[in-house]
């Protein structure tokens, strides 16, 4: 570990940017605020690049410790940053994509009431995200973890007095409600994360001399030679599963994915940056970061990969029928995050993180393209009211198409390499708890790939191809292409979506650079003997997945070209299935009736109105009434007549005399 003194500038530049935007922003022109924010994130990217080269040349991780944050109970926590190969990938992706999206936002948000607020939040987000990926211990990571949640909350509810528009045109959920939902669901995940931290502290603290038990390096060293003696596998599995609860919240996996589709209430650049490229991948990063725990626990691996696979398929089916362009992309994100969890769950960390990287490029591109479409369509998001946009927005169309092909997994686009690597790893994965897990997950992933190709090309077909259905919405106006600040990022991302795949070639073709780069930073499963698959099989699987993707594309094109009547007929043939999918399996409704409403009504009806008001306060006021009653009874003695009092005095005196005499006679 090499100590350097500049890592803190990666988060600090955006923080400074956020403060400047907040303070100076209201007095500056929108473009100037945007430029300021972009430059700050760009500076952060530059520092990341510098650090990347230092790691590359020195072959060791960098570390900056600013100060000791707190020390108590034997536990010591630093505010420190770690820049190893894994954080390097994340930092480059996050700051790089952020810079592009900041640039894009200048044009997007120019006509808003308060662009400075937007850029301030956005910079604050980059700051938090940088803390999350650079923190050298779990608590600094947790600061970032909560910080990105906060920024997500603020940005989803950026137009805090507005509503989402349902495809039918009616009012949907309020933006501020969507933000709150995101924050609260994330908090449920954080509950797991916190408990995992507690369990790590109480388990490992006795084994660490200087109390820095939450440092990744210290934990990793402890776990280097397997599980330390005196600690059961059950505890490690519990830690892994609790951490994964946190990951399901942040990375929108089953059963906590429900906030992400509603997070589309935020401005589109926000969806691109936070809810596609960066924040939602934090869970994947975290699992990779804690790889030294996960490789020990087959159960945890199974759960992570299983949940990932289930989510990948589940979200893809919902994505098939959504009408809102951003909703389709949101479910696609949930599904792709599932693929990443398949990868990191099976300890194929480079595969998972590589998919994270390529996904950041093509999904950011898809969202930005969608933003460009929405911008051009004057805030219309219903794809059934688009069509034929290819003619009006050529650059948007071509870049969008590149991203779509990439996500569908067609060679030689980036998505092919990353997704295929995950499926290949799944096929070869061996889990001792459930030996067939790898094949099952592979099959699920392959099905998901089919659906992905289908719904993505459905999206392209309905948006860009076919007849123009937008005239009634636009009232004669024409959709228009966006300004260069918006199309330049599209182009850059399109290049990356096309070319990034070559960083991680299948090993039958060439060196997997990405895998070699990440190797020092993540733990690896010990190789399993007698489980080698030949190159022939790998070729076969590759061709199979290409064929599957091609099938998906072809059927989507067949279904949706030229307004073929087939989709309508399908809808009519399976109305129940269609409705269930369109209503997202009624999961939101289920949570609402099973959890939220009972909780609120029990709290209001029983705890507050009955227990607090009647039982506790009833007892208190009852006591008061009892005292009052006694007083009422006793005051009858107070006749006001001197004689009564005199009689009582005499009686008292007599009683006293009598008592004394009794005592005396006893004594004698």
């Amino acid at each position: 570990m090499h100590s350097v003194s500049y890592l803190q500038y990666i988060p600090l530049f955006p923080l400074l940017g956020a403060l400047l935007c907040a303070v100076l922003g209201p007095r500056l022109k929108p473009a100037a605020v945007g430029a300021l924010a972009t430059v700050m994130v760009g500076a952060s990217f530059a520092v990341s690049v510098a650090a990347f080269f230092e790691v590359r040349s020195g072959h060791q991780a960098l570390q900056t410790v600013l100060y000791t944050w707190n020390a108590l109970g034997g536990l010591t926590v630093d505010v420190g940053f770690l820049f190893d190969q894994l954080s390097a990938v994340m930092a480059l992706v996050v700051t790089g994509v952020s810079t592009l999206i900041h640039l894009y936002s200048i044009g997007y948000i120019a006509h808003d009431r308060s662009p400075w607020r937007f850029f301030s939040y956005l910079n604050l987000f980059v700051f938090s995200m940088a803390l999350l990926i650079l923190g050298n211990n779990l608590l600094v990571m947790f600061v970032g973890w909560e910080g990105v949640g906060l920024c997500s909350y603020l940005l989803i509810g950026f137009w805090y007095d507005g509503w989402m528009k349902e495809p039918g045109g009616q009012r949907g959920m309020a933006n501020s409600v969507a933000g709150m939902k995101a924050f609260v669901v994330n908090r449920i995940g954080d509950f797991g994360f916190l408990l995992a931290i507690f369990l790590i502290v109480v388990t490992f603290l006795p084994k660490v001399a200087d109390g820095r038990v939450l440092d990744f390096a210290v934990l990793r060293a402890l776990m280097e030679g397997g599980i330390p003696s005196g600690i059961g596998l059950g505890i490690i599995t519990t830690i892994c599963l609790l951490l994964f609860v946190g990951a399901t919240g942040k990375s929108a996996q089953l059963p906590l994915y429900v906030w992400l589709p509603d997070a589309m209430a935020g401005p589109t650049p926000v969806s691109a940056l936070i809810h596609a490229a960066t924040m939602v991948t934090a869970g994947v990063y975290m699992v990779a970061r804690m790889s030294f725990f996960y490789i020990q626990s087959p159960t945890a691996q199974l759960v992570v990969a299983g949940v990932g696979a289930a989510t990948a398929l589940f979200a893809a089916t919902i994505g098939l029928v959504q009408r809102d362009i951003k909703k389709v992309l949101a479910y696609s994100t949930v599904s792709q995050l599932g693929y990443m969890f398949i990868g990191v769950g099976m300890c194929a960390y480079s595969a998972g993180v590589f998919h994270l990287t390529t996904h950041a490029f093509f999904k950011a591109l898809l969202f930005l393209g969608a933003g460009s479409v929405i911008h051009g369509m004057h805030e219309e998001q219903d794809i059934y009211r688009m069509g034929g946009l290819k003619k009006y927005m050529p650059l948007t169309y071509w870049t969008f198409l590149v991203a779509t092909i990439a996500i569908a997994g067609i060679w030689p686009f980036a998505g092919f390499f990353s997704k295929d690597e995950i499926l290949w790893q799944a096929f070869n994965y061996h889990n001792e708890v459930f030996p067939e897990a790898g094949r099952v997950i592979w099959a699920v992933g392959l099905t998901g790939a089919l659906l992905t190709a289908f719904y993505m090309f459905r999206l392209v077909a309905l948006t860009f191809w076919g007849p123009e259905r937008f005239h009634e919405v636009l009232h004669g106006k024409h959709p228009h292409e966006s300004p260069w600040t918006m199309t330049l990022p599209l182009t850059v991302l399109a290049v990356l979506s096309f070319g990034a795949g070559w960083l991680a070639m299948p090993h039958i073709w060439g060196p997997n650079l990405f895998h070699h780069w990440l190797e020092p930073a993540v733990a690896a499963l010990p190789p399993v003997g007698g489980h080698h698959s030949g190159p022939g099989l790998e070729w076969g699987l590759m061709i199979l997945s290409m064929g599957i993707a091609g099938l998906g594309i072809a059927s989507a094109m067949g279904f949706y070209r030229q307004d073929a009547p087939l989709p309508t007929r399908m809808k009519a043939a399976f109305p129940g299935l269609y409705r269930v999918l369109y209503q997202k399996y009624y999961v939101d409704e289920l949570y609402d009736t099973a959890v939220i409403r009972p909780l609120v009504s029990v709290s209001r009806g029983f705890l507050w109105k009955f227990f607090d008001v009647n039982v506790i306060d009833g007892t208190v006021n009852g006591l008061a009434s009892a005292v009052r009653l006694c007083g009422m009874a006793l005051r009858r003695l107070q006749t006001g007549l001197v004689h009564t009092y005199a009689y009582f005095i005499v009686l008292g005196a007599l009683a006293f005399v009598f008592y004394v005499m009794m005592m005396l006679s006893k004594g004698l």
């Binding site: 944050w69 108590l72 924050f183």
Partner: protein
Amino acid sequence: MNYLPSILSTVVFLPLLGTVLVVALPSREKNLLRAVALLTSLATFAASLNLWFAFDPAASGFQAVERFWWLWVFGVQVDYHLGVDGISLLLVLLTTFITPVVILSSWHAIEDKVKGYHACFLVLETAMLGTFLALDMVLFYIFWEAMLLPMYFIIGVWGGPRRLYATIKFVLFTMAGSVLMLAALIWLAISFKQFTGNPTLTFNLLEFYATDFLRPGTAQSLMFLAFTLAFAIKVPMFPFHTWLPDAHVEAPTAGSVILAGVLLKMGTYGLLRFAIPLFPHALHQFAPAICILALVGIVYGALVAMVQPDLKKLVAYSSVSHLGFVVLGLFVLNDFGLRGAIYQMLNHGLSTGLLFLAVGVVYERRHTRQIEDFGGLARVMPMFAVGFMIATLSSIGLPGLNGFWGEFPILLGAFAARPVFGIIAATGVILGAVYMLWMFRRVMFGPLTRPENEVLRDLSPREIAVFVPMIVVMFWMGLFPKPFFDVMEKSVAEVLARHEQRLGQAEVPRLEIQAVLDSLAPARKN
């Protein structure tokens, strides 16, 4: 830096001096009265800063001790005895910091009987500081009861429509506890006298600390319960909390702030100063039960807060939940829990204080506290929205702000003691986000639906001067908690070490509740 001579007495009685000045001034000079009160409280804060800079965290025991005979009659010896340690130091600073803030906050809110109002606040400050610094138990009791009077008037004279009910409820609840405490206190002193054979009856807390004079048994348990009940009512712990929402709703803004900010800490401070160190065996027996009450309070307070239609009631119930965390931290009896609890006392003072100030800001403008009367205020009051948001986030324990370093160690301590406690308490973190953000959304976000809300002014410079210091301290305590934790280290370690040592010397019978609890929520074995 060294302690200034008689610094503790100076800190305690400076506000009283200010009271004399306030009383001597003519009633019609309202601004002069306010200025004198503000300057006095600022001077007190400045004086208390000497304590912070002179305090030696490495030294054990109490510092800057002042002691002389005060009452010595009929074989009863009551001393004037003040001292500061790492626990009281922080609470003294909290008190001296919040008092000028609240005096500034009520500059325009109070136009009626201004003289009496400020006199009450200054007397209250003296009483609060005395309570934190007294080392003689009778002196403590006197300051403790002296707090009640000004607060009684603050709620009863300058309060809302149901102020009489609220203020009497507040006083009676507190009194009910404190008479029990008085009885236990005398009993304790007599036990000490019998054990040592002293000719006089003394109430010196330091001697009580130094001597292991109580045997395990019913007497100790009864004394412990009496003390605990007195403080539990003040905290307030579930199920003794129902005075709090009423008192908060009826109190003027400044009263609510000082009530939530400092007065409630008297309860937790008392638990830590008396109930925990003096009765080791009873503590050992009853701690799990008290932890369970605290857990119930955390969840119950949060759930009830969630459905309150009144802003102040919501914040009041959230206090029940937050102070549940504090009590839990105190009674899990480890370093994480205790230091986290002390920090959480400060955090709660700041964040809830700021929340009440924020409620006061909108109340002054709209004369309503019903959540449904608001909505969309972020558009007309952007600066207020920022301040209110930071208070909210601090209250829900967002890391980077102060709240985190209170909640996190407490939860960790609870988890280290009994994992189930940690798990249940951690649900409070989720629920905290639910009720606070829901409230914030309904007040600040959404469209502006009511025309009367469209003309609301944003924060005035005076209100900014109230908000900014609080927010600065919140960030400071969130980013640099270590100095604060270092200050308490020695004092907390002494409490824990003494407890371990006393407990080790005697066989303590197990209560049945402990056996039940151990089967349901096993303690963690090391």
